[in-house]
Amino acid sequence: MKTSVQKQNVTIKGTKDGIIIHLNDQCGYDAMITELKLKLTESLSAFDPNKDVSVRVHLGKRYLEQEQQREIQQVIEESGAIVVDELISEVMTKKEAKKQQEQQELTTFTRLVRSGQVLRVKGDLLILGDVNPGGAVEAAGDVYVLGALKGIARAGIDGNENAIVAASVMVPSQITIADRLYLTEATRAERSIEMKKTEPKYACIEHQEEDIVFHAMSGLAAFRRDRKNEMD
């Protein structure tokens, strides 16, 4: 017996933010691809062929290999002037989950980082103590120094340009955020004056294509808000 209305494996919806494609997570992968191709040709007339339309694809609880993700993206983009913004899945592998957890973890060290010593973590790094000249602290996320940062700090070492370096006393010899490098040009005299100041600061990449800049810590909330808005 046939049900009168077969469950749709692919639904395409237009919203004010662009197009959303829902892919059923209960059917077979090949059946889904076939239906996707079909539906896309059917609704092609609805899109303006001269304009890039952005699409988000919801995968439900389906886990896709990278290969498959690429295939879906290709199928959609080949069908017209469509750009796939994002493939959203509610599931991930254990490995990805572990990696994500590590990236979000804050690791705290209560110590002085001396010349020649290097501390590195996968998430964010908090140092309760100074980082002396010649010492280095590195994180895939942010670096926070509750003390004087006189040595080297590297944030976003896996390429995260939104990472920051914050310090109670900011007199670094070197800061790296993602692939951007800052080298101090302050003289020793200038640095020793700065060292007496206790205004906390943070370093960030504010605009693409520009150098690392320093701001008073009070500006950090706004910076974070802007970055979040950009990402959503």
Binding site: R114, S115, G116, D130, P133, G134, G135, K150, R188, S192
Partner: protein, 268 residues
């Protein structure tokens, strides 16, 4: 059972040997049984500073090679019966000794003395490893300039992997009489701040140090010099007495006061 204290710095020429000789002498002055160990193999000069270079028959490497007993290699000081020196070899190099061997020698000597003072070579390689191998604690010597402090910081990090937090001696501190003379040097507080170590003593720049080692008599044996007083105070602090520390600025104030009181030029 004695305590073995290694004197180290990372950077060369900041005063490790001078400090070893004078702390040893000052402890002997207090009646302690002291043995000085020179581990700067190939570049020994603790014997010269002590004025004992002509009495060397055997050295550390001879001991390790089994050519003699440890006690045969020890040289007794001219002035103090309770002060001995185990000289380093001059003809060998640092790789002819291992940390395990050093520790053996130190352990063998410890029961006979109150203090073993180990003079460490510059650097952080084999010679440094040998010197700290048998030590119970460390004293880091630095001069108040950026390169020396940087190396002291590095060496402290390495010492801390093996021993407790070292004590700090800041050597060759200039009196801040003429400000232009000292502006390119750090003040003692900056040094202590950066290294975050407990300050065991401050030794002023004093021409008597050089004069004394020229004569082969450590400056601690001469009475009225700034350096001599500093080393004797350091020895008293090692013995557990609480001798007040004068910071550079306090010192200035103190001397300025003396000067104005007596109309004298303070020379210490």
């Amino acid at each position: 059972m004695g305590e073995a204290i290694v004197i180290t710095s990372g950077k060369g020429g900041v005063g490790k040997t001078t400090t070893s000789a004078n702390i040893g002498t000052a402890l002997a002055l207090q009646g302690k049984q002291v043995c000085l160990l020179d581990t700067d193999i190939g570049l020994r000069n603790l014997d010269v500073v002590m004025g004992l270079e002509n009495r060397i028959i055997y050295d550390l490497v001879d001991v390790l090679e089994g050519k003699c007993e440890v006690r045969q290699a020890l040289i007794r000081d001219k002035r103090f019966d309770c002060l001995h020196l185990l000289p380093a070899a001059q003809t060998k190099d640092k790789s002819s000794v291992t940390p395990e061997q050093m520790k053996q020698v130190v352990d063998e000597l410890k029961p006979d003395y109150d203090y073993l003072i180990i003079d460490c070579p510059a650097g952080i390689e084999q010679g440094f490893r040998n010197a700290i191998a048998g030590a119970d604690r460390a004293i880091v010597v630095t001069t108040p300039d950026i390169p020396s402090v940087r190396d002291a910081d590095r060496v402290t990090g390495l010492v801390e992997q093996e021993l407790d937090k070292p004590m700090l001696i800041v050597n060759r501190v200039r009196k801040a009489s003429k400000s232009n003379e000292t502006e390119d040097l750090l003040d003692v507080d900056d040094v202590v701040d950066t290294l975050s170590l407990d300050l065991l003593g401050v030794v002023f720049e004093d021409e008597n140090v050089l004069k004394a080692s020229h004569r082969g008599e450590p400056v601690a044996t001469t009475p009225n010099t700034a350096a001599s007083l500093a080393y004797r105070n350091i020895a008293r602090r090692i013995l557990g007495e609480s001798v007040p520390l004068l910071s550079q600025k306090q010192k200035l104030g103190f001397f300025a006061k003396i000067k104005s009181l007596f109309g004298l030029r303070a020379n210490s």
